[in-house]
């Protein structure tokens, strides 16, 4: 562990390469050190240079995790023995795809040298120089210290596989250079590699009765609940000359222990344009049987299904039943890493996975893969669509998310933690500013064929800037309206700020930081400002780190609150028109919503006029309303807005009433502040909104289907 508090470090870098039948051990210094098996090995000083180890993300608007890869350069030249080069190793062993691990270790024991302190030098024929000429007192210097390094106590900085097929990017008589990548980027493993074959070739999987039109089609892999629509194409897999015909909907290959390819097949299926009853289903083989009499020669059958089950490993790691539907995105991600990329549990930080799931227990995802798709392609879409930040650090995969609650821990950064002139602030350098996000739906997944997506609009920013800037996405996995609003609403919030990027070169205390850490900085324009670390690039030569953070505001509760549940499901057109504030618009419009009706302390109802215009914040609007009510009442009527609850509160020294008269009358332009219009406010001197008033960019984005 690189000590974060020490000014100096004697840390050393170790590289282990596991070839078939041979393990290479290199360092930046010749030394013996204990490997993780507890045995001493000699680590030869062949490391010429190591590229930075980077973990994290480029920005927020796309699944842009920084590729986790490290470039390594080794000395190839001979040291003393003409045969002492890497040439034989390159020719006799295959390096591509082999595991390489980078460790950094501090010494566990340091023995200062025992050296002689003075001496004499005789030069020339007869001249003797005395002890003070240049000997010095070497016994005071740690000149030849013995240091013990134990890799079991070391940090694994990176573990990956040597690139393949392009193994060596540079190979000369002096240097050997190659790169190692984390497991996701080396593999183009297909999620669904199996296709329907006719058995003509002897080794093929045999479906002799498969229709010609289905030959070489991918056998689908299905995740999540698709039972609302008959989307699962059923391929006929036996002869139709029998009384019943068998169809297949999903692949049974590539399943983890205890997994079934589908957890449910509905007995109602779609045959051509009609619904018929299935005779029998078998979820373990993903097959269904239909009486042949219901079929035409070219009938197309579609079933309503629920996809893969969780299996034994997921049930063991995340709890619950192995036979349940696999649909939580965290568990699906684990399935992809573990089952398809072969990442062992020891290399997945399960705590961070379960933490994310515990914080978001109700997330569901679904996807139907009947076209060839690689794991490396679908993992980024899965993580991005659910706001899951997956990154590899050391030898493990971690899952985190930007917390929109107050951070539980922060690391303070001062001028003593970064290099001079390295602290730089850029406003929206990646040009992600947007005041609108559109999420398009694939009609394949939608019951309502006329629903084309969701639009999330930051109306305040749009009106302020006068230009609509749109980010557009199409989701592969996320098809639930409330999940999309929650996830992409947060993205819109960040994009509309616009965000500022802070970069600096951090010293040793920053070396151990990781993505989504929160740094608190007092420097330049910032006073105790929280910065979210999104990318860190660690330098293994001097143990500094290039840190990239984003100033996306104090993402605590006051700036974000999900309020959808408090919004009435439907409002009339007139209610919509007169409830502009209710819908998050801070605009007072003449003749529209610019009046309130106040009866203070037993007096009659009096119209209170509000000044038309757009108010920058709900607090400013509340202050204006307070001033106008006070002027009318002749007493202090306080109006406040709570960002944490999203509600207005009106209070005064004496009882007062707010009358909602003449509902739905276009001639009455009253300003509702989230109150139930069917209930006059009366009987007390303090009232709080019935409904949450979520204001765009404050704590809510508005959404329209």
């Amino acid at each position: 562990m690189i000590s974060q508090s020490s000014v100096n470090t004697r840390a050393r870098v170790f590289l282990k390469i596991e070839l078939d039948g041979l393990t290479l051990r290199y360092s930046d210094h010749d030394m013996y050190a204990k490997d993780t098996d507890g045995n001493y090995y000699f680590w030869e000083a062949r490391i010429k240079s190591l590229g930075n180890v980077t973990a994290g993300f480029n920005d927020f608007k796309e699944a842009a995790e920084t590729t986790s890869a490290v470039t390594i350069s080794l000395f190839n030249g001979k040291r003393a023995d003409p045969e002492d080069t890497l040439d034989d190793l390159v020719s006799d062993y295959f390096w591509g795809g082999k595991t390489a691990t980078i460790f950094v270790a501090e010494p566990t024991e340091i023995q200062e040298a025992n050296t002689m302190d003075t001496g004499y030098l005789t030069v020339g024929p007869d001249v003797t120089m005395g002890p003070d000429v240049f000997m010095g007192d070497y016994s005071l210097t740690p000149y030849f210290a013995h240091s013990e390094y134990v890799l079991a106590d070391a940090d694994i900085i990176f573990k990956g596989k040597i690139s393949f097929p392009n193994v060596f990017s540079l190979y000369s008589d002096t240097e050997l250079e190659f790169s190692i990548y984390d497991d996701r980027y080396l593999s183009e493993t297909l999620l669904n590699p199996n296709i329907y074959q006719t058995g003509i070739v002897e080794t093929d999987t045999t479906y002799p009765y498969i229709r010609d039109t289905d030959v070489s089609k991918q056998i689908p892999v299905i995740y999540g609940d698709h039972s609302n629509l008959p989307i699962a194409y059923a391929a006929m897999t036996d002869t139709s000359e029998n009384l019943s015909t068998t169809f297949k909907v999903a692949d049974t290959a590539g399943l983890a222990a205890g997994q079934a390819p589908v957890s449910y097949i509905d007995l109602d299926c779609l045959v051509d344009d009609g619904v018929i009853k299935i005779y029998s289903v078998d979820e373990t083989t993903a097959t269904l049987v239909i009486f042949t009499k219901y079929l035409q020669p070219d009938s197309r059958v579609y079933a309503r299904v629920k996809g893969k089950t969780r299996g034994t490993n997921i049930a063991s790691n995340f709890g619950g039943s192995s036979s349940d539907l696999l649909e939580h995105p965290v568990e699906v991600l684990y399935d992809l890493l573990s089952n398809y990329l072969g990442v062992p549990d020891s290399r997945i930080d399960l705590d961070s996975f379960t933490d994310f799931q515990d914080a978001n227990p109700d997330l569901v995802c679904k996807a139907y893969f009947d076209k060839p798709v690689s794991i490396a392609e679908i993992i980024p879409s899965l993580t991005f669509e659910f706001g899951m930040d997956l990154f590899s650090l050391g030898e493990k995969f971690y899952l985190s998310t930007l917390t929109f609650a107050a951070p539980t821990s922060v690391t303070q950064i001062t001028e003593d933690d970064f290099a001079p002139e390295s602290f730089k602030v850029s406003v929206d350098p990646n040009r992600m500013y947007a005041n609108k996000v559109s999420v398009l739906f694939d009609p394949f997944y939608q019951e309502d064929q006329f629903t084309n997506g969701l639009e999330l609009i930051h109306s305040q920013k749009r009106s302020f800037h006068g230009i609509e800037t749109n980010l557009q996405y199409q989701c592969v996995w996320n098809h639930e309206d409330d999940q999309i609003v929650n996830r992409f609403g947060r993205l819109l919030y960040i994009a509309s700020l616009p965000p500022r990027q802070v970069n600096f070169k951090g010293m040793a205390p920053c070396f151990a930081r990781r993505p989504n850490d929160v740094l608190e900085v007092n420097h330049f324009i910032y006073s105790s400002q929280n910065l979210y670390l999104r990318q860190i690039s660690k330098n293994l030569n001097d143990f500094t780190a290039d840190v990239s953070c984003w100033d996306i505001g104090v993402l605590d509760v006051k700036d974000w609150a999900t309020a959808l549940a408090s919004v009435p499901a439907t409002l009339s057109d007139a209610q919509n028109a007169s409830h502009a504030i209710y819908h998050g618009d801070l605009t007072i419009t003449d003749g529209f919503n610019d009046e309130l009706y106040l009866a203070y302390n037993g007096a009659g109802s009096t119209v209170v006029a509000l000044t038309p215009g757009t108010y920058d914040t709900p607090e400013l609007l509340a202050a204006h309303i307070s001033a106008q009510l006070t002027a009318t009442a002749g007493a202090s009527v306080t109006v406040t807005y709570s960002r944490s609850t999203g509600k207005f509160t009106l209070s005064a020294p004496a009882n007062f009433e707010i009358n909602w008269t003449s509902f739905y009358s276009a001639s009455v332009a009253r300003c509702n502040l989230g109150f139930d219009e069917t209930v006059h406010l009366t009987g007390t001197n303090t009232y709080t909104s019935t409904y949450v008033c979520p204001f765009d960019g404050v704590n809510q984005v508005s959404s329209w289907d």
């Binding site: 003393a80 025992n114 001496g119 004499y120 030069v123 020339g124 024929p125 030849f144 970064f418 290099a419």
Partner: protein, 253 residues
Amino acid sequence: MIRFLTESKMDAATLTSLSVNASFPLANIIDTKLKKTYRTTGLLNEWIKFDLGGAEQLLSFCFFYSNLTPSATITLYGSATDLGNTEASWAGAAYSQVITDFDQRAGFLDLSQTYQWWMLAISDSANTSGYIELGRIFAGVHVSPEDNISESLREGLVDSSIVNFTQGRSAYGTTREKFKQFSFDFTDIDSDDQQTLRDLFNEVGKTEPFVIIFDSDVEPVELTRYGLFTSDLEFSSTPNYRANCALSFVELR
């Protein structure tokens, strides 16, 4: 007088020892990498025996990198025959000499002996490590020009550590090894000495590690270094077919 020791007779020897830690084999004492060390399993009466295959002359005996304490007893024995596998059995060897000029960086013995069998015996009861560790043994016949180096020997102690300063003017260091580098001159040397240097440079160039003993006469261990030339060989002529020559040398760790 300066000595250049370019070939170690021990590299071709058959090696045996009293004890060896299997993770730190005996062959490491003739490995060119100093930190690739040999370790015993004990501290008393440990020995390493060298069979050179035939009688060979040794004029300089050096070793580099050890964990020896100042109270260690180190004795070099020489014999025409193998006297056995204990230090006691070598007590009557034709040649024996206690090595007193040593520290944990290097050890040196000046001798002029010719034998086939050699034993290096070590006892170090005060060593808290529990074992004796040796890096490299380098012994053989050196070459020396007739004329010694001039008085202008320049020595530097280089720290290869990396230091980063912060905005707040504190500093973080990555501590690395220090090493010596030397520059020295031969002034007005004759053609025979020039040829000696040419032969030397042809043999080792700038890639083959060798041993320099700057002063073999008086407490030379501080000036006994294992390393490489870092300069090319150049002569600048002086009258009467003589020449000056400047060389640079860096220590290997």
